[in-house]
Amino acid sequence: MQFNYITERPYRGLTEDQIYEHGSFFTYPNSAFDAQRGSDDYNAYLDEAVLAEQVGFDGVALNEHHGNPFCMGAVLNVEAAVLARITERVKIVLIGNPIPVSRNPLRLAEELAMIDLISKGRLVPGWVRGSGPEQFFNNINPAYNRELFEEGHDVIVQAWTRPGPWRYEGKHFHYRHVNPWALPFQKPIPPTIIPGFLSRETAQWAVAHSYPYLGLGGPLKPNADLSDFYADEFAARGLQAGPENFGHVVFVYVDETTERAQEIGRALLFAGGNANFAKAQHTLPAGYNSPAAIKRLASVPQGGWLGVTKERLDEEKVDIKAASIAESRRRTAANYQKMQENLQIVVGTPEEVTTKLKTVLRCLRPGMLFLMSPFGNVSNEDRRRSIRLLGEQVLPPLRVEAQRLELTDMFQRAPGSVALAPGQPRAPVVDRIAIDKHNATLVA
């Protein structure tokens, strides 16, 4: 079992009120950016990764967003390159590089090979399509997003594995000379992970490449449904999926008292994925999703993740102010409780957090767990205390539990290395009884 530390790199100079009033993080005017603040924040988050390594995490993970104050990591390869040199042991897990956004997969192949070499083989690349705002910010045609993603990925893997020089004429990419000198340290390619938010299309694509799927959040049951879908597709390829095929992200904050943890942990909601802090027109650019998916969204009266609800799709005004700020606050507070009950957010003392995370491990049986630090304006002191408590008091008992549950990770057993005999049903990949048991406590 592999435990990873991750944080968005929130710019800690904006208040919740400012974002509520503006309606979203994305498009917030950059005249509010203070260079000293930004410099301090970037360095603090790099220091946190070093701390995470010191207290016992197995990996440090990075993501990226563009033009978005809740995550200043706009070019994650820059940070990954720094981590390659200032950490010694941890995996550097990228969740991930938005291939379409880069416009140049060959350059991505070069950047990642350099990071893998400098880190002496600790890179775990991950590939994503990039969320809606990423398409707007980088002016990437959303209607070609999936094509760009798939073709770009193939270019990268070929650039790493097929001896050059060779010429490439594809649909979206064309290279007259593919021959990157620096190739990855890890052979044939660095172990790769595919993040997604309950996306069956992405899971299907991961299956086709025997990549593990990393669930970026959501309640237990939808994640379990996605894992079963993945495992069924994997079985159709004659392969048995196991914990090595799955990762899971939980938002976590640990403190010495329950009250303090609950108070500071509220910042776990102050992020771009929250419907109150994103706008539908940026989240769902035309062509990014299938028309059928839009129809489904338009048919469901609630929803709310990623800024998309029926109400917002139906919104008449550009500036979404359908709900007052007070109403938005009420919804955010309600989400905090609900997401804790669903174990999407886990806050509390080390004992409380350990108990809840054990439940997550039992239910979803992931080989990799990603513990995400709060967004928003939490002090370095509080953030670092949480990381220390996680490493020193939460990870040790979780490792024991993971051992008991036989949660092998992708480095212990390569995904796709277990064949399924013809006609043999696949083994379960999640624990439905444990999920039902947990969900029963919610009803009560």
């Binding site: 209607a143 035309a286 062509g287 839009i294 799709l313 139906d314």
Partner: protein, 277 residues
């Protein structure tokens, strides 16, 4: 008036085409949100003209054509349709991005058309202002931005009236296809004015609503400048849909230009518009 749905084969693609009215054919190229429905202005002109309305590939009814990469490609495809159907030379009326398609067809082969009406056409970068980035706003807002008056007659019946999940799906298909064709540069082709400048002898009427929030005046003016002899009519008070916002004036301009005979009662109640030469 009964609309007849036909399927026309073009290069292996089944193009769903709506037809209504009687008389000489009039090709109608709908806008970037899809065919808005049979409106009163259609009804009036249909007394003397047979509308032929192809539903653009990829917009939900006609399948997507996977080799399309630009509006110019759509124009080439429709040009083939006209040649193979023996319809041309034909009169054409194109709305917004549909006007751009018509202009692309004219630029490559002016002989396809007898006369051309471009209504609030996109496709050329305005000298001043910018084409509304309607892909950066919600669908609902996009629809509302096409009129200057949210209480415009017939707006509530456009696109089937209201926004049902099914209509959302069609809008998404239309917007996705538009994105595929014209995401970058957004809704114009810098080469189009140069290609249009060589066109001779094509009678062209450009209609633009003075309150248009989607296509700045410069779009219409740019067309007038590059198409020799083109006439620009500005309709005060109307937005991006003068055909419903000032239907009488719109019908008057178009019928006169296309030499179409109107039912008697349509000739009364003339309104003014500003002719720009």
């Amino acid at each position: 008036m009964e609309l007849v749905e036909k399927v026309v084969q073009v290069g292996g693609v089944s193009v769903v085409t709506l037809e209504g009215g009687a008389g000489r054919p009039l090709l109608m190229l709908h806008d970037e949100l899809g065919f808005p429905g049979w409106m009163r202005w259609n009804e009036v002109l249909a007394a003397d003209r047979r509308f032929v309305v192809p539903l653009q590939p990829g917009f939900g009814r006609t399948p997507r054509v996977d080799w399309f990469e630009s509006v110019r490609d759509v124009g080439a495809f429709y040009a083939r349709m006209l040649r193979e159907s023996g319809l041309g030379p034909v009169d054409v009326v194109g709305f917004s991005a549909g006007g751009w398609i018509a202009a692309e067809m004219a630029a490559s082969d002016p002989g396809l058309f007898e006369r051309m009406v471009l209504v609030a056409p996109l496709g050329i970068r305005p000298a001043q202002g910018e084409i509304l980035d309607f892909l950066a706003i919600t669908m609902r807002r996009h629809v509302m931005a096409t009129v200057s008056n949210p209480n415009a007659q017939e707006l509530t019946t456009m696109y089937g009236g209201g926004i049902s999940p099914e209509q959302f799906e069609l809008f998404e298909a239309a917007r996705a296809e538009t994105s595929r064709l014209a995401w970058e540069p957004f809704m114009f082709d810098p080469t189009l004015p140069h290609r249009l400048a060589g066109v001779r002898g094509l009678d062209t009427l450009i209609i633009w609503g003075e309150q248009d929030q989607v296509a700045p005046r410069g779009c219409a003016e740019a067309y007038q400048q590059v198409i020799r002899g083109a006439r620009l009519e500005v309709i005060p008070g109307a937005g991006h849909r003068p055909e419903i916002e000032d239907r009488d004036r719109f019908v008057e301009l178009v019928s006169e230009f296309l030499q179409t005979r109107l039912p008697d009662h349509q000739l009364s109640g003339r309104k003014t518009s500003v002719r720009v030469n």
